[in-house]
Amino acid sequence: MKQRRLKIIAASVILLSGFVVLVLSMTKKESMPELSPAKLVANANSKDNQNVKVVGVISEESATWDAANTKLTFAIREPKGSATVNVVYTNLKPDNFTDGGNVFVEGKYDAAKNLVVATKLTTKCASKYEEAESATTQKSAY
């Protein structure tokens, strides 16, 4: 009886620790800091060549859309501030992409160019549909 319980406990412990190790190591591997443009600029060197998530608003009149190369370039600025980070995104321009709209991007940061090469770009509606649960996500091919 005792031995049987020991077996059950041992199996549980092994299973549990296996998962804990898996989850922790994957968290460590995949986790990326979520920053505002000002914070990213302030810590540019420590974030160079790292995956980051930048949350801010689309800087007014910064966006250019190169249809021939499917390339969107724009700047994310601090919602209440002047710090900006440049973004390049080679994919379809998402719905709701408007000046002053909320946006977050995920991608690798290049400190020298103050540029995020985005692999994911998510927009949220600006003022008009503020309350509605609207948003669109676009992803590029990994």
């Binding site: 968290t27 992409f97 949220k124 503020e130 309350e131 609207s134 948003a135 669109t136 996500t137 091919a141």
Partner: protein, 718 residues
């Protein structure tokens, strides 16, 4: 004319009436709680009856309030703040009504209304009950109702009363209108479906609390709330799938699941509910896991509220992030307070919650059930960890961080495959302890057939991976064995969790076929027995078999549905093709074996939007397959001229079980022969299989729910 005048004069009155009804419902909910507590503790049947009546009264009052809001939508009452926020005169009638859940205030009112319906149904179902057990369950239901009533009254900052009107009699000329993205049929039914699923979880939770309060901790509470639980599970399954289907059709990124916090919030209660549906069987059969079941249903219920906390508090950046407000923190407060209440009751009833039996062997049906529960709860915790990582990381590292979709895919795949295996192993392993005979009879053939299928899949995928690799690398001295080794170890494939990705497909094929063979032989054995005993046809025998034990065989059908969903996910998530390109009129592109050519552009006027797009000719091996018309919708004419944006309306063409999916980028206002069209084309293999699998799961659920909890099984369990 007369009717217009009448509507106009009634409009203001109905809104005021609705507000009054909400305030009154707070009193009826409090009345229900107080009267039921007094009546049950002092055994006064009059007070209990009064409490029941109050539950019905709450239902009537909230129905009036909801009706008043719908009336405001239908009659375009732009003196009401909420109507202005999510509706407009031009909005089609269907979307005027669905605007009820177009934003937060109305969603909360809908939530509350469904909860009062549930309360009324519980009263009605137990109107002839010989005991007071269900009356105990009405107390927690009324407490949850009271919480939602307080939220809806508009006392909390950031959430206004959905029936509130603008001050000083202001009437807006028109409403702002609902977001076009939400004006689709699947978005019209997805939110209320999820709400119904979540809210129905309140009832089994209430019965668990009733068991603790009354001290009747047998299997009674489980049996009495069994159909509620199953109903909730079926509806949640449908609701989650509708959400994925909506995203697939509307958002233009070719996928249906991205581990977004809101998706996770809907998925976690489902996982916990699934765990609970299994663990209660152990309590019924073996009188074990009593405490665990109560904890599990409490957790499932709390997770439905946690979803609101996550999405509304603004602490997590999500695709869905709604307007931020304090409401999330009220939800968190309620979660903590109600959990503390349940823990208090558990401590109070500690002696009666001990198990009568223990696990006897690692290899037994009980263990399979326990492992299933561990995996489901473990998955929930893993997903919760990933979802809350922004908060956790800020607390421990001082820096907010998030994990991407890839994290979730990596951490769920192994527990997910183990669970898949268990859906076949669980039903065929013997109770108490596996015997060599049981193993030989039940396990050998599923394992062999599974291995054979896996071997075929292995070779097939190796060929596929080899063909997909662009430049096959040649060894300096070609060696057959090293080549074969490279070939079979998928050396050219991408890696997932240190293993080549196709290995997981091979494991998935093995587990799927194992489960299918195991479950189908269960059906075959049972049906064969009936056929012989009743001397009837095999199909009739199968029908009788399912008829006699709907719960069990309905469950098996759900398991088959799960296998089908896994196969669909494997195909669509693991082997989709994505190509982006810029094309002018007459240009072509290739996706897999398909050739797409831009033939033409088009423009169509619709009721409240303009549809513009591109016509593609799709050919396969030179043979015309179809034409596809991806488009963009422009809801606001002025906006179109200014921004040329619109919303993506993907074209989806089904080829057998696979989909060809085209999303179109923004279009310029003037199109000529030099205009570039940006397109993203996906080939999504087996995506239809996902929807079919869910349909099978729902069918199994409906069969299982058809079985009444008969008193015989109750006495057996006791």
């Amino acid at each position: 004319m007369f009717i217009e005048k009448l509507v106009e004069s009634v409009q203001g009155v109905t809104a005021e009436l609705g507000q009054a009804a909400i305030w009154l419902s707070a009193f009826s909910a409090i009345w229900a709680i107080v009267m039921l507590c007094i009546g049950l503790s002092q055994r006064k049947s009059n007070a209990v009856q009064s409490g029941r009546n109050a539950i019905i009264a709450t239902f009537i009052l909230i129905t009036i309030a909801t009706g008043a809001l719908i009336f405001g939508f239908v009659t375009d009452d732009f003196s009401m703040m909420y109507v202005v926020e999510v509706s407009s005169a031009a909005q089609p009638l269907l979307y005027k009504i669905t605007a009820l859940w177009g934003a937060m205030s109305g969603s909360l009112l809908l939530w509350l209304w469904i909860l009062t319906v549930a309360g009324a149904i519980v009263v009605w179902q137990n109107r002839k009950a010989s005991d007071t057990f269900a009356d105990y369950a009405l107390i927690p239901i009324a407490i949850v109702q009271l919480f939602f009533i307080i939220v809806v009254t508009g006392l909390i900052e950031g959430v206004y009363n959905p029936l509130a009107r603008f001050p000083d009699g202001i009437v807006m000329p028109d409403g702002r209108g609902m977001n076009p993205l939400l004006q689709t049929p699947s978005m019209a039914i997805h939110p209320p479906t999820l709400y119904i699923g979540w809210i129905c979880l309140t009832v089994p939770f209430a019965f668990a609390v009733a068991a603790l309060m009354s001290g009747r901790i047998g299997s009674d509470w489980i049996l009495r709330s069994r159909r509620w639980m199953l109903f909730s599970w079926i509806i949640l399954t449908i609701g989650i799938t509708l959400g994925g289907h909506w995203a697939y059709q509307e958002l233009g990124w070719g996928g249906y699941w991205a581990w977004d916090p809101v998706e996770n919030a809907s998925f976690m209660p489902w996982l916990l509910g699934t765990a609970y549906l299994h663990s209660v069987m152990i309590q019924e059969k073996r009188n074990m896991l009593k405490l665990w079941n109560i904890l599990l249903i409490t957790l499932a219920f709390q997770f439905t509220l946690l979803g609101t906390f996550i999405t509304r508090s603004g602490i997590i950046t999500s695709v869905h992030s709604f307007a931020q407000s304090d409401i999330g923190w009220y939800f968190l407060g309620f979660i903590l307070a109600s959990t503390a209440g349940v823990i208090g009751l558990i401590v109070h009833r500690w002696q009666r919650l001990k198990s009568a039996n223990r696990l006897e062997s690692l290899l037994s049906r009980e263990s399979a059930f326990v492992l299933n529960n561990w995996l489901l709860v473990g998955l929930t915790l893993i997903i919760l960890w990933g979802t809350l990582w922004p908060i956790i990381s800020e607390a421990i590292q001082g820096e907010k961080a998030t994990v991407p979709e890839a994290f979730f895919n990596k951490v769920v795949i192994i527990p997910g495959l183990l669970l898949l295996f268990l859906t076949g192993a669980g039903p065929i392993i013997s109770w108490k302890k596996i015997t060599p005979n049981n193993f030989r009879r039940m396990f050998l053939s599923p394992i062999f057939v599974g291995l054979a299928a896996a071997a075929v899949a292995w070779v097939f995928l190796a060929f596929r991976a080899h063909a997909a690799a662009k430049a096959p690398t040649e060894d300096a001295i070609p060696n057959f064995f090293t080549q074969a080794w490279k070939f079979l170890t998928f050396s050219e494939s991408e890696k997932l969790l240190w293993l080549p990705t196709p290995i997981f497909s091979v494991l998935c094929v093995f587990a799927s076929v194992f489960v299918l063979v195991a479950i189908c032989s269960e059906f075959y054995r049972g049906a064969n027995l009936r056929t012989k005993r009743q001397q009837t046809s095999f199909l009739n025998g199968l029908w009788l078999l399912i008829q006699r034990n709907k719960r069990r065989y309905g469950g098996y059908i759900i398991h088959i549905g799960i296998v089908i969903v896994y196969i669909g996910i494997m195909g669509s998530k693991g082997y989709f093709l994505l190509k982006s390109d810029n094309l002018k009129l007459g240009d072509s592109m290739e996706v897999g074996t398909y050739q797409l050519t831009v033939k033409d552009t088009f423009e169509e006027e619709h009721e409240n939007y303009l549809r513009r797009g591109v016509v593609f000719d799709v050919e396969k091996n030179g043979q015309q397959e179809t034409t596809m018309k991806p488009a963009r919708h422009y809801y606001d004419q002025a906006e179109q001229a200014e921004e040329e944006q619109g919303t993506i309306e993907s074209a989806i063409h089904a080829i057998g079980l696979n989909d060809l999916y085209i999303a179109l980028g923004p279009l310029p206002t003037k199109i000529n022969t030099d205009t570039y069209f940006n397109v993203q084309v996906y080939h999504n293999p087996l995506i239809k299989v996902v929807w079919i699998g869910v349909a099978v799961m729902v069918l199994g659920g409906i069969i299982a729910i058809a079985q009444k909890s008969d008193p015989n099984s109750r006495s057996q369990a006791a």
